[in-house]
Structures are given as structure tokens and as C-alpha cells.
């Protein structure tokens, strides 16, 4: 069951299960939620990149029901576009003035139609470059993801996410470790195919804070994307060693790091995956 529950990223058309009952159009509304910089109340430093992720979920979410299906189609005006064109980010200032920020979709979503079972949700990601954020005046802003669908078929209507409260300011002279990590994470997550840029940021942080476990994990993830599996594996292993040496019986294990390490273990030593 759980394998059907997927956060669908850049979802492709699903041809399967065409005999499932479909959700009637016009009702009810799907869910939509947004995080900016991994948070609902981020502090955005001018000159840092911004990363936003919206999640569109089935209107009748269920872990057990496979139907009815939810469809989201391209808008009538842009029949050649993607369902994702119906989702946008709305930025307002503290006094309610609508603003335009230079968000760009991180990766193009070319799929025409979104099709979700009640178990599923779909993700759209945006980013804003450091040059763009430098021009934002310090202050309080609100960002919402808005789904406005007027498709020839599928669900039609408008639904908006809970507001993400964004406070914009200048980077302080001295950054806290966690903030510096977040900045690095943002650079990595918005680097796209510029892996050298991502590595440079992750490596710089790792060198500045060699004992910082999240920093080690982040660098390992970049190394993995660079297909440097063994180096990535070793770094992830060191991160685990550090954690378990400090606390052999943690209340909660470092799940994402363990998952990463196990995956790298295979990538590093499985001949079918390791690039020679």
C-alpha cells in the first residue's frame, strides 16, 4: 500500500488503472501547501537563494483508498502547457500589496495532466537566485501557493495554501552555525546542474565546520550527485561514526543519514553502479 503513496515529483502521465472511477469536476478542492526555505516561517537573508516547494494533494486523501482519481489538466488558455502552470506563488507585503518576486521553477514539469490517487501528492519546486533576493526590501512578506485551474477537463477552481510568513533582512556579520548550514543547503538545492558550485559550497562549509554532522551529510549528498560514491560513502560513514560515538543508543537514529549511507554502500561497491 505504502508504495502507492508517493510524493510525485515531476509526475509523468499515469496510464494505469484507467478503469478507476474519476473525481467529479468542480468538487471538492485539492489540498495545497507550501514551504519556503524548508519552513513556514523562514528568515530570508538578502543575497541568499530561496527555495520553495509546494505540494498538491488529493482532495480526499487516504492511505487506503485508490479512487476516485483526481485530475488536473492544462488551462484552456495554454492547452499545450503543463498542469503545473496552474500553480503559482503569490507574494504580498505586510500591508497586503501584491508583489512579484523572481521565482523560477526549479525543473520544468512537462507533463500535461496530473493524475493523483487519494494516496498521492505532487510536488512543484521554485527557486530564486541570490541576485534577485538582493533587491528585496527588508520587511515582512507572505507567500502563498495558489492553484488556479481552468482546464478543459479535470478539476477547476482556485485553492490557496496557508500563508508562509517570510521575514527578509540582511545577512548578519556573524552567522550562527545553523544559519550558515541553511545557506549552504540553499546553495546546494538551487544549484541545479551546477554541481561544482554545489560542491564548492558544501565543501567550504565542511571545511569550516568539520565536526558538523549535517554538513558532512550534505557534502556526501553532493558527492553522490557527482557520482563520487566511495568518497560520499566514507564521509557519510564518518558522520555516522561521529554520531554513534557520541551517543551509541540515540533516542532516535539519524534516519536520513542511515538511508544515505546504506544507499552509498551499494553505489560504492556494486559493480553495476560504480563508475569506473
Amino acid at each position: 500500500m505504502k508504495r502507492v503513496y508517493l510524493a510525485i515529483l515531476f509526475l509523468s502521465s499515469i496510464a494505469a488503472a484507467q478503469n478507476w472511477p474519476t473525481l467529479p469536476t468542480q468538487s471538492p478542492a485539492p489540498g495545497i501547501a507550501l514551504s519556503v526555505n524548508y519552513s513556514a516561517e523562514p528568515h530570508l537573508m538578502r543575497g541568499w537563494p530561496v527555495f520553495a516547494r509546494a505540494r498538491v494533494s488529493h482532495p480526499q486523501r487516504s492511505l487506503t483508498q485508490k479512487s476516485p482519481l483526481f485530475f488536473l489538466a492544462p488551462s484552456i488558455a495554454t492547452m499545450t502547457g503543463s498542469w503545473a502552470d496552474a500553480v503559482s506563488l503569490r507574494v504580498t507585503s505586510a500591508n497586503g500589496t501584491q508583489l512579484k518576486w523572481a521565482f523560477q521553477r526549479s525543473t520544468p514539469i512537462l507533463t500535461a495532466q496530473l493524475q493523483l490517487t487519494p494516496m498521492q501528492s505532487a510536488i512543484i519546486e521554485w527557486q530564486m537566485l541570490p541576485e534577485a533576493t538582493r533587491g528585496i526590501a527588508p520587511g515582512q512578506y507572505f507567500v502563498q501557493a495558489v492553484l488556479n485551474a481552468s482546464g478543459a477537463s479535470g478539476w477547476n477552481g482556485t485553492v490557496e495554501s496557508t500563508r508562509v510568513s517570510v521575514s527578509v533582512g540582511d545577512e548578519p556579520t556573524t552567522l550562527k552555525d545553523a544559519d550558515r548550514y541553511t545557506k549552504t543547503l540553499l546553495i546546494v538545492d538551487t544549484a541545479g546542474s551546477k554541481l561544482d558550485e554545489a560542491f564548492s559550497a558544501a565543501d567550504a562549509f565542511n571545511k569550516a565546520f568539520p565536526q558538523n554532522v549535517p554538513g558532512m551529510e550534505l557534502k556526501a549528498r553532493v558527492l553522490e550527485r557527482q557520482k563520487k560514491y566511495r568518497e560520499a560513502r566514507d564521509l557519510a560513514g564518518k558522520a555516522l561514526e561521529k554520531l554513534f560515538t557520541q551517543n551509541p543508543v540515540p533516542k532516535e537514529p539519524p534516519v536520513p543519514l542511515l538511508d544515505l549511507y546504506y544507499r552509498l554502500d551499494v553505489e560504492a561497491f556494486d559493480p553495476s553502479l560504480v563508475a569506473k
Binding site: R3, L6, Y38, S121, E125, T182, D265
Partner: protein, 803 residues
């Protein structure tokens, strides 16, 4: 309602007089005073008793002849039970009486001429007919020109015996008794008895003098005492209070305490008991709101406690009412009176400012003549204090809500929500009243579910945590309110801090999710690290590491291949599962075993193989603990493998192959791989499982990896597990043919309802259950859920249980 009590301000009379004058139904022969009018309009009949009694003796008045005069003794009595009916011909009431009269008069009169006359009049009889055979009737009439009344018989004569004996000198002349009409009562239709100001019940006594009521020709003035006890038979005059939509109305609030929520229109109807309008309207209506609530804020969690005001939750305000409704200055909308009457009907409006407000509505009609009628709820004349909203006498919860809220049958302080059943701890820390009054979530009002446990989440992570919350909601079966915003939980996470008179039991906490860049994974954090998971009061924060971008990982062609023991599908939901898992902790769900159930290979086991310099020819590779190795020309080798202190350890793949041989074969089969391996991994020989230092996670029986395979409270990292009953033999999830690839171990997103091992933990599995059933104190997670912050959930600490 019996209209027995009333009062009337003097000024009212002019209104009733006006009404009287303009009414086409009123007889024209008289003008009635205001109290008379009220009596006329209200009383159909009278029943009761009356009596006229008079008794006197003394001297008779002197006659014109000197020396004349005499003495007398007289007693009259009439006692009757009367029934009088309205008689518009006389502008009063007429009827008959059952009873009798008695008359006894004795006069001794000196004529002054030498004669003395003894006159005796006696009589006794019924009251059906008068002395002339005509029906004897009695009348109660309203006196002209005054606001008074009179009572009189139609005839004052009954039959009696009159005897007159005379003595003139020595001559006695006895008289012959003679049957004749005799007087027994006064006949006075101008008695001018005042009408009582506050009741229709006529009761009292009144003196009536009569100059010629005795039967003797020498009658002195006779004074009767008229005693009466007459009860009205009235059409009930009633004031109906008719809240429009009363059955379905519940109070609401605006955005803050100064904003109007909703309104309740109320109609007042002055009516007679037969539903008809009375001929006289009310001079004014007086409306009171009694015992009105002043709960802080507008809902249980809004606004913040330091901003919440304790103002009246229901009011009458000018804006929503006619100009003829005058609010009392400084009365805070709790008292109002109408002007500009008379009114038979009147409409006004109550205005609500709170989702849980209540009041008692009382209305009184003041009528001409000083009377008043206290209103009652339409169709329920026993309810003179109308509960708003409509509710039980001992409740502040609207019936309208109870009607549609499943399970809302208990008292206001009930907190017996039992879905999910959880750890046998009922409730969610919120009383029925609190669930009814409700909460503000993301700026909108919501209600709790009386039969379902409500949990409130402040999601500071945003959309990244949505799917995890979804999994948690689905699995826990709780009523999760996930969109709480800043200011909707107090600084100390309370959700029901705005309480006063409404039923309240527990300071109930919500749960806060935050992104924390310093955390690896996630944890349900509280600062002491000592508290057990759940109820929500125990968890200050759920801290989750940032959900960094994973799209490349998912999109770079791993397909559905198993990766590191986890399917790509599982990996995509791993973050969501973390969130759901930690949320389960906040409501009291434990791991399937304790942290102490992790087990690590001790002694850093090494692979001892022919690759080692001193390995004996023909020997088979094996694992050994506490091995000392040395480095030689860039390669690592074990010390003497024949040392008697060597502690061997046996590891088998799940299909029964010796993993030491598998690993050796893998490394030895390709020299470059071997060399490269050592070059890349100088610490490899420290342990078997590729990560240095700390050793390997070995899942043990009934530890964290045990129980239902699909439960999200179970962990899935162990690479090894002990062979059942053995201390030196283990199984591994590694595969012989690909010694670094783990067999899949699914991660669950469900919640179990049994500690029984399933899937990889199934007891019938080959070669064996990996980690067996959950610990006897754990598992069956759905029955560990506890939300109520006043609860003391079962302590499932394994170490404590062992003591």
C-alpha cells in the same frame, strides 16, 4: 399563564383610554377607567363567595311625637356562592347564587301616644328566586366615572314573616304573622369599591350603608359588611417570546471580541390564550438578559490570553434594533425598554460576540392599569426565563450543536471521547463545552469532535511536513487540526486557555513542528530528555531537519531498483514517515523496543581470510573478534589467525551461505577490486559492515526492529540479527552474490494493532523471524495513543518494568 398580578403606571391610562375610544368593538354607553377596561377585556366570568352581613341594635330614631322612639335589634345575612358571566348589556357580569339569606329584626317602638308596638321580621330562604318569584340574580358592575366596581342583587326582597304586636295601655293586640317580601340586602350599584391594582382576584370586605334596608318603618341606617372572594375566569393573557430559529441557533463570533458574530431575532407577541390579540396592547416591553456569559476571547484559543477581554457575549445593541428599543445607559446591552407603544407585537435582536456565549432572556409586558405579564417561550409557558441559546437547564451548550455533533450527549464537562480508543485513557483534554465553543484554526472557527480525540498542530515547517501529518492523521484516526497559526496556540502551547465559567478540566497542549538545521533526522524533543512520549504536554517541539531537495535522487534513473535495502518508493516517503513517526511519539506511542535493544557487534569483528599474510593454507575465511591487525606495504593483515585466543563468529546470509566466504570471494575474485577496496577503505577490516568505528546495528529480539513490519514505529536499519538461541551466530541481510547489497526491509507507514511480528518478523519465516514480536510492553501502537493531557498513560519503559 394566569394573569393574576399586575401593576399599572398612572400615565398608562391615557393610552388605554385612547385605545378604548378608537376601538369599534367597545359599547358606547360608558366610558371605562383604565383598570375597569383591563377587567372588562380580560375577565369572562367570576366565581366565588359573597356575603352581606349586618347586625345592629340600639334606639330607633325619635318620631315627631314627643316621647316617641324605641329600641331595635336587627341582623341580616346573605351568603352565596355566585357565578357571574360577562354581560355586555350592563357593562359587567351577571349570574346566580347558591346560598341563603336570613333576616331577624326586632323593633320595640313607643308611639308617644300610649302604644308600644313590637315588630318582628324574620325570614330565611334560598336565593333562586326573589320574593316575587323572579329569578334572583346578582351583578358585578363597573361604576361610571370612577375606576371602581359594585356588587348588587337584582332584587333585595325575599319572602319572610312580619309580625306586629301592639300594647296600647292595657290592651294587647297581638298581630297576625304575615308572609310578605322582606329586605335582606342592600341594592347599591354605586358601591365604588376600588379595583385592585395588581390582581384580578377580588377579595376583601367593604362597608355599605343603607338608609332603608331594614324592614321596619322606623329603620335606622343599616351598615352592611360586604365580604367577597371572587376569582376571575379569564382568557389567559400571555406574552410569547419567539426567538426566530431558536431550535437551530447557536452563537457565533466575529473576528474579534468587538466584531459581531451572528444575531438572534426575537419576536414578542401579546396574546390571549385562544391566540387572539387582546384589545389592549402593552404600554411597553422590558427586556432583560440575565446571567450572560463573559467568557474571555471569542473561542477557546483566540485571541491570546493577554488580549482576551471578559465582555458580555450576548447583547442588545442599537445597530441591530429599532429606535423604539431604548438600551439602559451603562447596561452593556443587557436591559432595554420599548417606547412608543402600545404594542401587541415587537421584534428585537440579540447580537452574539462569542462562539460559546449564553444568556437568559426575560421579557415583560406592561399594560394599561398597571398590570404586567412576564413572557414565556412560545409553546412553553413554563419557561419564563428563556435560555439562549436553546439548551438544557444545566448546560451552556446549544441544543442545535448537540443535534448534529455526533456523541454530544454528555454534560458540559464531559470528556469521554473514545475514538481512537488508544491507551484506555478517554478524552482529549477538552470538555464538551470547549469542543462546542471551538477554536480558531488558520483564522477560521472550527469545532471539536465530541466522540473523537482532537489534536492540534502548529506546523512551522509548512508544506514539507504535510504528507507526514497526513500519514499520522490517517494512522492515528485522530481528529487532527494541522493548520494552527501563531497566536492560535499560547506561548506554552495551550489550546484552551480562554476559559472562565464554561466547563474546563485540563490545560490541553498542542504540538509544534519546526525545522531545525542542527538535527539529524528528527526528534520529539523536551528539554529534560526524561519524559515519556506523550501526551502532548510532554513534547515541547518536534524538531525535523530541513527537507532538502531530493528530486535529483529520485529523478536520476534509479528506477524501482532496490537501493541500500530500501525501495525508491520507500525512500521518497522516508521524510514523511519521519514526521509521522515523531508525531506518534507526541501522543504517547513508543518504539517497538527500547534504545537499549540496539546491539552492536563487540570486539570489531574482522574478516580473516587467505588474503591475510599469515592465513594457513587451505583454511576457510571466517570472522573473528578482538583481532589485532597490522599494516604492511599499504595493506592490512590480521595477526596470527591460529592464535588460540581467536574468538570466531559466524554470519550467514538468509539463504544459508557463509558470509565470510561470500565476502572473501568477492574481494579475492578481482585483485583490482581488492586493492582498490583497501585503498579506499583503510579501516575496512575494523568491522564487517563497511562503516568504521562504532560497529554494526544488530537488531535483537523484540527490539526496535521487531513487530509488525508495516508499522511506522518500527525501525529498519539493522543489517544483522542473532540466530535464535545462539550467541556467536548471526544472519545478515547482505547477499552472497552481491555482498554489499542488503535485502529489502520495508519501511511502514501504517500503525499496528498487535505486537505480533509480521513480514520479516513473521515467526514462520525462513530462516527465522528477524526480530520477532514487539516487546511485551510495546507494539499494538494504535492502543498506546493518548491525547488527554490529564491522563497518566501506561509506563512502557522496559527497564522499569524489569525492576
Amino acid at each position: 399563564m394566569k394573569w393574576d398580578k399586575f401593576s399599572l403606571p398612572g400615565r398608562a391610562s391615557r393610552f388605554i383610554l385612547l385605545a378604548w375610544l378608537v376601538s369599534p368593538h367597545l359599547p358606547a354607553f360608558a366610558q371605562f377607567g383604565p383598570r375597569q377596561t383591563v377587567f372588562r377585556e380580560s375577565v369572562d366570568s367570576w366565581t366565588g363567595t359573597i356575603s352581606f352581613t349586618a347586625s345592629d341594635s340600639g334606639n330607633t330614631p325619635s318620631g315627631p311625637i314627643p316621647g316617641s322612639g324605641g329600641t331595635f335589634s336587627a341582623q341580616h345575612e346573605l351568603k352565596a356562592t355566585v357565578t357571574l358571566h360577562r354581560d355586555d348589556k350592563i357593562g359587567g357580569w351577571t349570574g346566580t347564587g347558591v346560598g341563603k339569606f336570613t333576616v331577624h329584626e326586632s323593633f320595640t317602638i313607643n308611639s308617644g301616644t300610649g302604644c308600644i308596638v313590637d315588630q318582628t321580621t324574620v325570614g330565611e330562604g334560598g336565593l333562586s328566586n326573589d320574593a316575587f318569584g323572579k329569578p334572583l340574580t346578582f351583578s358585578l358592575t363597573l361604576d361610571q366615572q370612577t375606576d371602581t366596581w359594585s356588587f348588587w342583587p337584582i332584587s333585595q326582597y325575599g319572602m319572610g314573616t312580619f309580625t306586629a304586636d301592639s300594647i296600647c295601655g292595657a290592651i294587647k293586640m297581638p298581630g297576625q304573622p304575615k308572609q310578605q317580601p322582606i329586605r335582606f340586602a342592600p341594592l347599591n350599584n354605586q358601591m365604588r369599591i376600588p379595583l385592585p391594582p395588581d390582581t384580578f382576584h377580588l377579595k376583601g370586605s367593604f362597608k355599605v350603608t343603607c338608609d332603608s334596608c331594614m324592614n321596619s318603618t322606623s329603620s335606622p341606617t343599616f351598615t352592611y359588611v360586604f365580604t367577597y372572594d371572587l376569582r376571575p375566569v379569564t382568557k389567559e393573557l400571555e406574552l410569547q417570546i419567539d426567538p426566530i430559529g431558536y431550535d437551530s441557533w447557536r452563537p457565533e463570533a466575529g473576528n474579534n471580541e468587538d466584531d459581531i458574530g451572528n444575531t438572534l431575532p426575537v419576536d414578542l407577541h401579546l396574546r390571549l390564550s385562544d391566540g387572539s390579540k387582546p384589545k389592549v396592547g402593552a404600554i411597553r416591553f422590558v427586556i432583560d438578559l440575565l446571567k450572560t456569559s463573559k467568557e474571555p476571547g471569542i473561542a477557546m484559543n483566540f485571541p491570546a490570553a493577554n488580549k482576551a477581554k471578559k465582555t458580555f457575549d450576548l447583547k442588545m445593541i442599537d445597530k441591530n434594533n429599532p429606535k423604539t428599543l431604548i438600551l439602559s445607559p451603562g447596561g452593556n446591552g443587557q436591559h432595554a425598554e420599548t417606547v412608543g407603544g402600545p404594542y401587541f407585537d415587537y421584534s428585537f435582536t440579540l447580537t452574539s460576540y462569542d462562539w460559546g456565549g449564553w444568556t437568559i432572556l426575560k421579557a415583560t409586558a406592561y399594560l394599561p392599569g398597571g398590570s404586567s405579564v412576564v413572557g414565556h417561550l412560545i409553546n412553553d409557558d413554563s419557561m419564563k426565563e428563556v435560555r439562549v441559546p436553546k439548551r438544557k437547564a444545566d448546560s451552556h451548550v446549544a441544543d442545535a450543536w448537540r443535534d448534529h455533533a455526533e456523541g454530544a450527549t454528555g454534560k458540559d464537562d464531559d470528556d469521554s471521547d473514545n475514538e481512537p480508543e488508544g491507551d484506555d485513557e478517554k478524552g482529549d483534554g477538552l470538555t464538551l463545552y470547549e469542543e462546542y465553543r471551538g477554536f480558531i484554526e488558520n483564522g477560521k472557527h472550527i469545532e471539536g469532535k465530541p466522540n473523537k480525540k482532537d489534536l492540534f498542530i502548529r506546523n512551522r515547517i509548512g508544506g514539507d511536513a504535510e504528507d507526514g501529518i497526513f500519514i499520522f492523521t490517517e494512522d492515528s484516526k485522530l481528529e487532527v487540526h494541522k493548520d494552527m497559526q501563531d497566536g492560535e496556540l499560547s506561548d506554552d502551547r495551550l489550546v484552551n486557555f480562554n476559559h472562565d465559567q464554561g466547563a474546563h478540566k485540563t490545560e490541553q497542549h498542542g504540538v509544534i513542528l519546526v525545522t531545525d538545521a542542527s538535527v539529524e533526522g528528527a526528534n520529539a524533543w523536551e528539554h529534560t530528555g526524561m519524559l515519556n512520549p506523550g501526551p502532548p504536554r510532554n513534547t515541547e517541539l518536534v524538531r525535523v531537519q530541513p527537507a532538502s531537495k531530493r528530486s535529483e535522487e529520485a529523478g536520476t534513473g534509479y528506477g524501482n531498483a532496490l537501493q541500500g535495502g530500501m525501495s525508491s518508493g520507500d525512500r521518497m516517503i522516508a521524510f514523511d514517515r519521519i514526521v509521522a513517526h515523531e508525531l506518534m511519539h507526541t501522543v504517547g506511542v513508543w518504539h517497538h523496543g527500547d534504545g537499549a535493544d540496539y546491539m552492536w557487534f563487540t570486539g570489531s569483528p574482522h574478516l580473516v581470510s587467505p588474503l591475510d599474510k599469515n592465513f594457513p593454507a587451505g583454511g576457510k575465511p571466517f570472522f573473528a573478534r578482538d583481532w589485532v591487525y597490522y599494516s604492511d606495504a599499504g595493506q592490512l593483515y590480521s595477526a596470527n589467525p591460529l592464535d588460540s585466543t581467536v574468538k570466531k563468529m559466524y554470519i550467514f546470509t538468509e539463504d544459508g551461505k557463509d558470509y565470510a566466504q561470500c565476502l572473501y570471494k568477492y574481494l579475492a575474485g578481482e585483485p583490482q577490486r581488492h586493492a582498490d577496496f583497501y585503498k579506499q577503505n583503510p579501516d575496512f577490516l575494523k568491522d564487517v559492515g563497511h562503516w568504521s568505528g562504532a560497529g554494526q546495528i544488530v537488531g535483537v529480539r523484540s527490539g526496535q526492529h521487531s513487530g509488525d513490519e508495516q508499522c511506522l514505529m518500527r525501525y529498519y536499519f539493522a543489517k544483522f540479527y542473532p540466530k535464535d538461541g545462539s550467541s556467536d551466530t548471526f544472519y545478515t541481510r547482505y547477499q552472497c552474490e552481491s555482498p554489499y547489497r542488503l535485502l529489502d526491509e520495508p519501511i511502514g507507514v501504517q500503525i499496528d494493532s498487535s505486537p505480533k511480528g509480521t513480514g520479516v518478523n513473521d515467526e514462520s519465516r525462513t530462516p527465522q523471524s528477524r526480530y520477532f514480536d514487539a516487546h511485551e510492553l510495546r507494539g499494538d501502537c494504535i492502543h498506546q495513543i493518548v491525547v488527554n493531557d490529564s491522563a497518566n498513560p501506561k509506563n512502557r519503559t522496559i527497564q522499569q518494568a524489569a525492576q
